[in-house]
Symmetry: C2
Subunit: 179 residues, 2 copies
Amino acid sequence: MSATPEIQTTNKTLKPIVGVSGRTIVYDKDGKPCRACNTLLDFQMATGKKPKSDQINQTSLVNKAIEKDEYRQDPPDVEVLGKSSWTFMHSLCAKYPENPSPKDKNQISTFFDMLGRMYPCDWCAEDFSQYLKDNKVDTSSNDGLNMWLCGAHNAVNVKLGKKEFDCQLWKKRWRDGWE
Amino acid sequence: MSATPEIQTTNKTLKPIVGVSGRTIVYDKDGKPCRACNTLLDFQMATGKKPKSDQINQTSLVNKAIEKDEYRQDPPDVEVLGKSSWTFMHSLCAKYPENPSPKDKNQISTFFDMLGRMYPCDWCAEDFSQYLKDNKVDTSSNDGLNMWLCGAHNAVNVKLGKKEFDCQLWKKRWRDGWE
């Protein structure tokens, strides 16, 4: 059995169609591999960075260990919940339309309003609700929304004594990657 | 410098007021430590499980390493995004009211509708949107919503060849813990 995965390609484009994970690789409409739709290893493979076999084996082992214990885990603490929530929110907003419809604007505003009322950590929710009152969500465009969210995240970073993120770099961190 | 943290307590209740993380420990209105408002180590301390000093030191080192590189990370892949999103959604729904108001019901419905339209992974969003059409969100109560979400999560587990979670146990996994 080979440790190097077989790279199946379509005849016309020479793009890989199945990744090292065994999943079909998903491409965006512009033909580029979709980062949020593939595993990291598959995405790397599809963008021409073929991962090393030991990297694949390590990932596979780690994944199996995680899956085995996943269902018996305790509920997340404030740090795991916070990290998960920011990852979710930044990723969601990164895909917000350039020219949002009234429905898009309404739904994202409702979402943040709901978070200020229902976020599982009560004191976080109260602080966030106050932030919303002082800093209205910018639903006007993709960049506007993400700059607003970056500001909201930095307000929490400051509160927790963490360093602030340079909001001009949000696309690298949450949408396009650093390379 | 001692490796064991100082446990400050209030005079009247003997509850710790500052955790091993240096943060103030947050208690719910019923007087119990709030799981989603504290770090795991602080929560353990407040519930009488004093963590070992080597556990604290390890956590501190890991946290520092994570923080150092956090801002230069690439956007999440589909697995990290999926795990973060489920953690966020289950935690949010776990705190949904027992007797939700019309506003609560409307906001949570809008949230899931938005996910079916805007979730960053397009094929995940399409599948979720179809699931919503076939399985209307149960907004009637805390248990109803969480049983519905557990079913939605299991549909994805089946699709990905993962084992299903026993939905009767959702409170242990996402709200109360296993002990």
